[in-house]
Symmetry: C3
Subunit: 131 residues, 3 copies
């Protein structure tokens, strides 16, 4: 199990961890397989969405997530439970295909740690399974 | 494929299946790998979130899910379609890393079957893949 | 990596890709394992839900997704950001167990590509991992 350490800087934040994941996959030296990502936290999640380059789309997505009406209230106005609900809606695990030793991501895709109760120290766990 | 059988007791419920999953992983006898979880139902889901010990956070999460406004209405006021939407939002599959023969879960994480149209008899399917 | 090509025909649509996935799994010739599905797009997703046969439940689910209130507005009234949020809520990856060379799906389950910014040409990537 490889661990990427992430320091988040806000209550709600999406942190691009793509470069770190690519590095782990490269070091694993596996030509074909699956890269499993897992967040061992209950108020964070992992997702894949539009890269912030060049248009800061990540911030826009975070702004929308912040406004998701859950239980009639929004994330910023509630305590821990809304953070937990967002964690399950986005989910703690993702899988990305590996081909020729590289992550198979779409042109505009990036991998994000989603922070729903920061700022905190977070971990992203990875395991690369060979075909 | 291993099957955990779960009897749910309410229309909306989160049932902690962590102990059963740990038992299957232990019996599989695999040191390092991935535990794949899958719910073969369209009005249920699987997620990982805050353990209910010691603070009944699970019930709090369920209460929030129940109040998610979907199509302007809530789960309890609608028929099957809202149950199906929640099933896709939470999702039918999860993956957990296995290390030294054990599930790698965060300190506060537990695995839940989410019931969105109970009470019913449900199955959680598991496969443990070795590295 | 196998690729299923899908042409979507509407802004929001759920396209049943189960038959194509079953074909890839059959051709892979693997008795026991996991079928990994991945959508390399940021305004689409993959999910498993009620088969449209015989009752067009898929359209009903799409209708509900369309009415999800995100940021106080709905998908049809907003630009790209809502499409991205739905992409992360449903998610870009799914995994299905394979047993005796076949997908292990529930009686009523089908696999759907979710289009949130169509019509477009989309890809579903697949890798079948043997146990």
């Amino acid at each position: 199990v490889h661990t990427l350490k992430v320091e988040t800087g806000a209550h709600l934040e999406m942190v691009d961890v793509t470069a770190g994941v690519r590095r782990v996959v490269k070091e694993a030296g596996i030509a074909r397989g699956i890269c499993h990502l897992f967040v061992p936290h209950t108020t964070a999640a992992i997702t894949i969405n539009e890269t912030t380059d060049p248009n800061d789309r990540g911030d826009m997505i975070a702004a929308f997530l912040k406004r998701l009406p859950i239980g009639g209230d929004c994330l910023t106005e509630e305590g821990g439970a809304v953070s937990h609900v967002l964690s399950s809606l986005i989910g703690p695990s993702e899988n990305v295909l590996v081909e020729e030793g590289r992550l198979v991501l779409g042109t505009w895709q990036a991998i994000y740690l989603c922070e729903f109760d920061g700022p905190r120290s977070r971990n992203v766990l990875l395991r690369v399974m060979a075909e």
